[in-house]
């Protein structure tokens, strides 16, 4: 989970240095967070669909 926030910190560094890779970095951070969300989806939702 720590890497999620490292990626966001790098994104912030990109904003302050006005780097072109900032927006791709933000998208990588979002996608990695989604991967971590999927990784932590272990408990079943208590509903019978």
């Amino acid at each position: 989970m720590f890497l999620i926030f490292v990626l966001w910190a790098v994104t912030y560094v990109g904003i302050f240095l006005h780097k072109k890779w900032t927006i791709p970095m933000a998208i990588v951070s979002i996608l990695y967070t989604l991967a971590m969300l999927r990784f932590h989806m272990t408990d079943p939702i208590p509903l019978s669909f």
């Binding site: 720590f2 926030f5 490292v6 966001w8 904003i15 969300l37 408990d43 939702i45």
Partner: protein, 238 residues
């Protein structure tokens, strides 16, 4: 018959619209700052450690803040708004997942409720309001015609102290995000986080409040220093 066209980059009504949009972005950032500061208060003041899904939602909040920060630092662009929408969608996926885990009527939910709702429900409301708000802002495409380069390069006559406060808020959000980042290894190490982390000894209401106040003061000092440096640079060039 001749027609005169105003240059959108210097048209007063366009500049006014840019100023209004900047103000809305700043207010949104202050709102997100409240959420991030509240989560830090719960963690360090009350001693309640965040669960993995809470960290996903914090990541969504940090991503939601990236758009307004880029709009203020780089100038208003549709891509900046897009990043915030994508981050809000990601964060709301975490919120919905956590709401569904506690959906049954006899489930007390995770953590203490605030104003009758759990924090993950408030987070979902924040993400949805964020997406709706950005959608409304995108209804005004003339804001992009001014070729805005951000509050430092194109202040459009804004007083220096307003620029200082705006930069202070930006730095404050970044500092809060960095503190959140720095706290994760202490809770989870470098691997996955425990599903139900144990509470820790918090610093109490006063201690947590002083901690947040300290962060605010540091952020404002850095914000005003950045603006003062930019003013010196501009005056030496002219």
């Amino acid at each position: 018959m001749t027609m005169t066209m105003n240059d959108p980059a210097t048209d007063p009504s366009t500049i006014r619209l840019v100023q209004v949009m900047r103000l809305i972005n700043l207010v949104a950032l202050v709102g997100l700052l409240g959420v991030l500061a509240g989560s830090l208060f719960l963690q360090f003041g009350v001693g309640e450690q965040p669960c993995p899904l809470c960290l996903v939602q914090r990541s969504g909040m940090i991503g939601l803040a990236v758009g307004p920060i880029m709009n203020l630092m780089w100038g208003l662009r549709p891509a900046h708004y897009a990043i915030s929408i994508l981050a809000a969608l990601m964060g709301s996926a975490g919120s919905v997942r956590q709401i569904l885990l506690h959906i049954q009527p006899d489930d007390p939910g995770y953590g203490p409720p605030v104003l009758g709702l759990h924090l993950y429900t408030w987070a979902l409301i924040t993400f949805v309001v964020g997406i709706a708000g950005i959608s409304v802002l995108l209804l005004f495409p003339r804001q992009f015609a001014a070729n805005d380069q951000g509050i430092l390069k194109t202040p459009y006559g804004l007083p220096w102290w307003i620029l200082g406060v705006a930069m202070g808020v930006v730095i404050w959000v970044v500092l809060d995000s960095l503190v959140i980042a720095a706290s994760v290894p202490f809770e989870c190490g470098l691997g996955p986080c425990p599903d139900d982390p144990p509470d820790i000894d918090g610093a109490g209401v006063v201690g947590g409040g002083l901690y947040l106040l300290g962060l605010a003061v540091v952020a404002m000092v850095i914000g005003f220093a950045v603006v003062a440096r930019q003013r010196r640079k501009v005056s030496s060039e002219s």
